[in-house]
Amino acid sequence: MRENFRQKRGFLLIFALLLTILITLIALGLLGLREGSYASSRAAINSIQARSLARSGMGDIWVKLSKDPFYPGGVGDDQTLFSFREDVTDQANNPVGSYQVILDRSHRLTNNVLRIECTGIAGQLDEKSSHFTIYAELSTLPGDFRFKVWQEGTSPKL
């Protein structure tokens, strides 16, 4: 009887350890299931930020062209395709992201249209982040200077 009792000593400890491992595995599994949701939330935030950056780029080029219809060259400039990129920081000078603007002036004289594409990139370029592209056609007709085509979330066209 005493021998049998000795053999059973430590049973509860082993049982508790096994239970601990089992419960830990279940908890880790549950946490792992949520990983997709967290990633989805992060992606949604990045996407909104990239969209805002793309809109900022469109605002930037709009202001530049409204002040100078021949931006970035001059009247006699034959270059049709231009591109520039701006980094955007917050008030504390932390990088927020960037936007790239591509301006196609090949139909400026024939159709009075400038084709513009702006891609907002959330975060720094070396980070895993979101891109968002807006394509627009700007009418340069005198008295009708405005965007006449505005497509958000497109794949790059220019």
Binding site: R9, G10, L12, L13, F15, A16, L17, L19, T20, I23, T24, I26, A27, L30, L31, R34, S37, S41, A44, H107, T110, N111, V113, R115, E137, S139, R146, F147, K148, V149, W150, Q151, E152, T154, K157
Partner: protein, 167 residues
């Protein structure tokens, strides 16, 4: 002594698991609410994007309010080079034959986007369940459009509002 230690270990783990599950349930609730909010904002951003792309706004009239939004925009499926085909048509890339008429309205408790080109039947897109749509135009022809969408949630009815400038 051994049993006490074992029980203490089990209770500690059970307590931690309890906290984990409570937090997981909270995250699940918040994620569901966020998913719903993302759907609502997606619908509103679609409307905003259409307003900003509109060549003309047919309804509501300037400085008035309505429950439908009707606008005309260039068909985004037509590439620019096809729209300036001077052999087959006009060199104007924004002519009426290349435009879509888009209507937003509530039908059977669902916000719908009806896309119509020329005389062809409208393509209906179901966006989100919603109770009312209110569209207000202020500030003249190139003014501001305020879109209010009432959405019935599990506990309360929320009104989401978005503003867009007519270009």
């Amino acid at each position: 002594m051994e049993a006490m230690f074992a029980f203490m270990l089990v209770f500690m783990i059970l307590g931690a698991l309890n906290q984990t599950l409570i937090n997981a349930a909270k995250v699940r609730q918040n994620t569901a609410a966020m998913d719903q909010a993302i759907e609502e904002f997606h619908a509103l951003l679609t409307i905003k994007s259409d307003i900003e792309a509109a060549l003309t706004l047919a309804n509501p009239a300037v400085n008035s309010t309505g429950s439908r939004l009707v606008l005309n925009r260039v068909n985004p499926d037509l590439p620019f080079t096809d729209r300036i085909d001077s052999v087959l048509g006009s060199a104007d890339p924004f002519e009426s034959a290349e435009q879509l008429t888009i209507t937003y309205e509530i039908q059977d408790g669902v916000l719908k986007r009806l896309v119509k080109q020329g005389t062809s039947p409208a393509v209906v897109q179901r966006l989100i369940p919603a109770q009312t749509l209110r569209v207000e135009r202020t500030g003249g022809a190139r003014g501001l459009v305020t879109v209010s969408l009432s959405i019935e949630g599990p506990r309360v009815t929320k009104t989401r509002v978005i503003k867009a400038a007519v270009r």
